[in-house]
Symmetry: C2
Subunit: 649 residues, 2 copies
Amino acid sequence: MGNADYECPHRVEIPPSKPFLKALKSSLKETFFPDDPFKQFKNQPTSRKLVLGLQHFVPILEWAPRYTFDFFKSDLIAGITIASLAVPQGISYANLANLPPILGLYSSFVPPLVYAMLGSSKDLAVGTVAVASLLISSMLGKVVSPTENPKLYVQLALTSTFFAGAFQASLGLLRLGFVVDFLSHATIVGFMGGAATVVCLQQLKGVLGLVHFTHETDLISVMKSIFSQEHQWRWESAVLGCCFLFFLLLTRYFSKRRPAFFWINAMAPLCSVILGSILVYVTHAEKHGVQVIGHLKKGLNPPSVSELAFGSPYLTTAIKTGIITGVIGLAEGVAVGRSFAAFKNYHIDGNKEMIAFGMMNIAGSCTSCYLTAGPFSRTAVNFNAGCKTAVSNIVMATAVMFTLLFLTPLFHYTPLVVLSAIIMAAMLGIIDYEAVIHLWKVDKVDCIVCLGAFVGVVFGSVEIGLVIAVTVSMLRLLLFVARPRTFTLGNIPDSSIYRSIDQYPDANNIPGILILQIDAPIYFANANYLRERISRWIYEEEDKLKSSGETSLHYVILDLSTVGSIDTSGISMLEEVKKNVDIKGLKLVLANPRSEVIKKLEKSKFIEKIGQEWIYVTVGEAVSACNFMLHTCKPNPGEIEVNRKDDNV
Amino acid sequence: MGNADYECPHRVEIPPSKPFLKALKSSLKETFFPDDPFKQFKNQPTSRKLVLGLQHFVPILEWAPRYTFDFFKSDLIAGITIASLAVPQGISYANLANLPPILGLYSSFVPPLVYAMLGSSKDLAVGTVAVASLLISSMLGKVVSPTENPKLYVQLALTSTFFAGAFQASLGLLRLGFVVDFLSHATIVGFMGGAATVVCLQQLKGVLGLVHFTHETDLISVMKSIFSQEHQWRWESAVLGCCFLFFLLLTRYFSKRRPAFFWINAMAPLCSVILGSILVYVTHAEKHGVQVIGHLKKGLNPPSVSELAFGSPYLTTAIKTGIITGVIGLAEGVAVGRSFAAFKNYHIDGNKEMIAFGMMNIAGSCTSCYLTAGPFSRTAVNFNAGCKTAVSNIVMATAVMFTLLFLTPLFHYTPLVVLSAIIMAAMLGIIDYEAVIHLWKVDKVDCIVCLGAFVGVVFGSVEIGLVIAVTVSMLRLLLFVARPRTFTLGNIPDSSIYRSIDQYPDANNIPGILILQIDAPIYFANANYLRERISRWIYEEEDKLKSSGETSLHYVILDLSTVGSIDTSGISMLEEVKKNVDIKGLKLVLANPRSEVIKKLEKSKFIEKIGQEWIYVTVGEAVSACNFMLHTCKPNPGEIEVNRKDDNV
């Protein structure tokens, strides 16, 4: 780059500024309708638009006409498989939520039917989820005791389900689905792992046959509670629990090795329940410290609209529980739906999913169901069983209906310890330590977020873990903006490419010219930092040049390629940098300001201050111009302005 | 670009990943020590390091040895000028805070002395500020009535001052000065304007001579309070107030037009006080509804360590008040200091300033002073009066000391309405409508932030305004990351430059190739959005090509130049995009991944998936390679890999 050939530079275009309302409209559209749902409505007659609109909100209308008998065969098998999982899991999770076991069965009947109408996932199997169940018991248990006032406790659980549904549906309707995106994958991994650990710890109560147990969920309280009543441990219960847990883990291990035998894993919980029940019935173990479910009422879901306790003094707790469980249910459900959709390469509309989840929970809260979502384990079984559409959910609901109508007496002797074993087996599958190792390898900060959520949940509470994870994630975003990286650029040999010297160690410095790149939008949050940092770069460069005694610094080129936006604080910062640079007798040159930035620089008259002739389209052209001026000793590029191409002005 | 000349591309370098601890250390250094304060300590003997360290924390040691008599002459004039402003303003603002007027004088004695030792600004004039005074009266007034329990009220005010100081100092010591940066210029303009309006409204009490007045600060409550007691208005007071306000505004207008006569503006408040006092003394107006200050105790600040009410039940209110007033005092003080430093081209260390502010408030709280900061009006007068160093603060403190010792009886007859007029005149100068117009012209979002803060303060309360402004500012940052802009790039004619077609309408599309640029780091918050948006771009491009019937799409080039960072969610997103693109029979090509991004892509094995040969240093080279393959029908660039320059591998 030593020669002073001066190439005609291209002119930086300043796009005309859009009228305010138009700009606002387009930015609102990008924010709320990034997927452009109106695309298909364009140029259609009104009747067609109506049909499309209905199909948009009730997806079953869209795919039902194309439904075939072949699909049904697959869905039937998948539906029966997940029903065999849904029944024991439903009872177990209701137990975890301190709710009557029958509510778990109710919750596998109505919500899946609603989801089958409205949901856009073909693989999601609807049901109650462990983490939300735990949250309900820990949050509602703080204000109402489920043993002393069971009726009010159930009412609050239903009310919180209603609010969870209302919140989910309104997020979807208001197109605020992206709120869920702020829970990153790392957060969810850590949070779920922590919650699974906590749920496992809670199961020690059932496995050890304890009657009294702490209401806290953190590791330390639970351990204290367990080891303070060693004499109460029941070995019968513990042996039974360990055997079943071993059996369940073994079947899962086997199914994982041989995916064709997925049904062994899927059927294992039901087998455990049957085996356990028979064992208890035969040995009368219920009289020797093995607790059993007891009487389950026959019959379908009773309506529960009148149970919704909107006038209760605990309404705020119900709302808070609803919102938190609703968000967590959504985050898990949407993530699960999306990952299976990615396997089969179809698309899931987040906002539509939220409406479906919301409607199914609102409907559920009116029919004695508590919070449902899309549990990963059941969805994976559904997928492996070869489900084709949401009809598998309908099949499952029908099977559960059949159970509710005729089979509930069979569960009388089911030992609670089997339910604990089922929950523990499911939870041990959720703890995804491989993902944590992957996070550590790829992205340390993500790993810290993940571990923060885990530690928060295990040693604090579920809410604390969630707050920690969201805060750390947000701080990371804010820190990215508040402390952007800055780089010096150099010339890659035999080219006019300029790249960071950190990344390309072969890139050469240009004598007398310092090229800086700023790696973030220039906003109030980083304007002060950037001013400091830029003056430090200049100071260090001058220092280096002084000590080497080669040339002195003449030009500072700011490469704005990576600056997507600027605000008024940022413009003031640039003005101050310009002033400082001028005082040092240097020249400030800008390269590649992008449309947002150049528009604002023009409006704030910064372009006039710096001079249009000091702004270039590429770093290469800026360097050529600076070199030309350095070697011909012309202080001002205005004199060579005549050479500038004006054909596209 | 129609020809298929294939130029040898450069290889994208993957910088070696730094060891975790080293990376952590350097990023912590950038976060907390961006100004590199240790620079000067390098290669110095220990004794010199000690001196430098002392000078770092007590700047007066650094500049005092170079202090000259010429400096002193300038500082003396400036100091006396600001003292003449400090006395009436001090009394006025103490009145606004519902504190005894003498506290206002005390607060202009000790804190300026402390600041002169520790502060790094040469222009800042220390004193009480209107907004913090108003906040103290509104926040503490909610829990303790200043009329019914004046002793406790003063104790709480001193306690909150202590906490403000402790908070400020710890922010500085922990190098968390950048917290203040999150209050943007726009926020401060709106917030200050709103607060000034509210303060003016409060003065209507004094001007109209009302005895009873609302404790609320919002416009509607104040207007109701005023117009519900029209019969209580005192015309004597109102006439006096309007006359003095007119006089003060006139002198300011005159001084603004003729900067040489700055002292007219500076002396006007003192003149008003003297004039008003004489008028009342002569006419005995205090007996006709004009309220006066009354007796002021002679003597210097009494110690007040024993008054700090750490055991009070209202301690949390005091802490909250302290933190909020502390942050606002800091934000204003640091901004004022920085803007005047920029005029004289010296540097202000934000963290050092915070320590100085904190120490001066801690010292103040032990010597009967309430919260002090760096008010803009007084600093501007100091600057115009030609101050050279912080000695002007020492001169001011000495003058105030003189006043406290000998002149307090003179203020006995000073009418409160004059104090109201002084406050109103100062506040009307703070409302910066020109800045709002500028914001609207340059940046609509900043303007909305500003107006939000203003409306929040005027119609809600000072806290509400602050919360609104900070929330909107944060949302803007988050939205920038959550909804990054994406652009299609085109070739600028007769060059190998690729730029956004939005900005450069002359840029040409390359047939068969879609070039997308993503304008933000790819993080969990935007990964889902970007996946949707990219597939929409591809869909729209295919649609366009299909309708025009020219060529079909073959390559999708993602220009990652503007992607500063990526997390694991972002990598999953890229993997899904790659899968989707593959299914459509297209090829995904990456251009210019930067060091952070390429490191993580390598660690997560995404490079293996996409193939190193599909990653280029520039968009131009990627396009050349794609074009070459399109025209020679070679499906895989591996075959031309031999041409790749390997000299810098």
